[in-house]
């Protein structure tokens, strides 16, 4: 159901924020694949400022109608992130980065898009900043592809699995440290 979905997304957002281990309130965060602003509202609730990016204009219009606190941009993370270096104390992403692995058009190269994304993300974070990216890997090969791309772009960290013994409840978070 819709409300169950929202509940799951909210819980995932709260977990991602927890894993960011921010030193204080009043941080500047990036919400990657912010969609309708649900995760953004969790960020606002936690006392931080945020900017969101999403590739879906329809989802962003919903965020606007919900009057979320953060500004949102229509943007494709596989094309990079349009921000100055060291703009953000941290970044979260809920159920979004698996879309980088799709090759929708003949021109799209998932590997290239992943590299572009992780390079941009690394630059956009302050030194010592973290990115916590929750996603649903399709298979172990995809998990390996995404994780290795992130490492290749200079990130430390790795994959965290919540509820590892439950096929249904299992959740994957890429927990990355920039420099």
């Amino acid at each position: 159901t819709n409300s169950r979905m929202r509940e799951i997304q909210t819980t995932l957002s709260e977990r991602a924020l927890e894993l960011l281990a921010l030193p204080s309130e009043n941080c500047m965060l990036l919400d990657i694949g912010c969609g309708s602003g649900l995760s953004g509202e969790v960020i606002t609730e936690a006392g931080h400022c945020w900017i969101g990016c999403d590739i879906s204009h329809d989802m962003l219009k919903v965020a606007k109608s919900m009057e979320v606190e953060g500004d949102v941009l229509l943007s494709d993370m596989g094309q990079g992130l349009p921000f100055r270096p060291a703009s953000f104390d941290g970044a979260i992403s809920i159920s979004a980065i698996q879309w980088l692995c799709n090759a929708d058009t003949a021109a799209a190269n998932p590997y290239r898009r992943l590299l572009t994304f992780f390079t941009a993300l690394h630059h956009a974070l302050v030194r010592g900043g973290r990115a916590v990216l929750q996603w649903y890997p399709e298979n172990p090969a995809q998990m390996e592809l995404v994780t290795s791309c992130a490492m290749r772009c200079g990130f430390g960290g790795g994959l965290l699995v919540d509820y590892p013994h439950s096929t249904r409840a299992k959740k994957y978070f890429l927990v990355l440290f920039a420099g």
Partner: protein, 124 residues
């Protein structure tokens, strides 16, 4: 909010030919004023992260005057001037207009409060 000057200040042109250091130029059509809670702690923290020259230029385009010409001139204990800074940074909101890459001339439209930063296939 749609696009406040804080957001603008964090942004750069996504064009591959552009350096990731210059601010986008604002073309403002519809601008509105918001009310956002004054948070001195956040403001003091974020001042250090701003491209101050870019902020002044953008503020001028949106008719915000009387801001300090450098961060050294900011008196963090002067509530009135901090509130003025808060207003310019957080409460002046571009609803419709565009962000222009000054190095390539490429315009990124802002419609319904959403800046469209998508690159076309031939720009990748």
């Amino acid at each position: 909010a749609n696009m406040i000057l804080l957001t603008h200040n964090m942004m750069v042109s996504p064009m591959k030919e552009a350096s990731k250091t210059l601010p986008l130029k604002i073309e403002a059509e519809e601008v509105q004023e918001l009310e956002k809670e004054f948070n001195l702690v956040f403001l003091v923290k974020i001042i250090d992260r701003l491209d101050w020259a870019g902020f002044l230029e953008a503020s001028a385009i949106l008719n915000q005057q009387g801001l300090p010409s450098s961060t050294e001139e900011i008196d963090k204990t002067n509530e009135e001037s901090m509130r003025k800074l808060h207003h310019a940074l957080m409460e002046v909101d571009v609803v419709t207009g565009a962000l222009v890459c000054t190095e390539t001339g490429r315009r990124f439209p802002i419609a319904g409060g959403i800046p469209n930063m998508l690159l076309n296939q031939d720009e990748l």
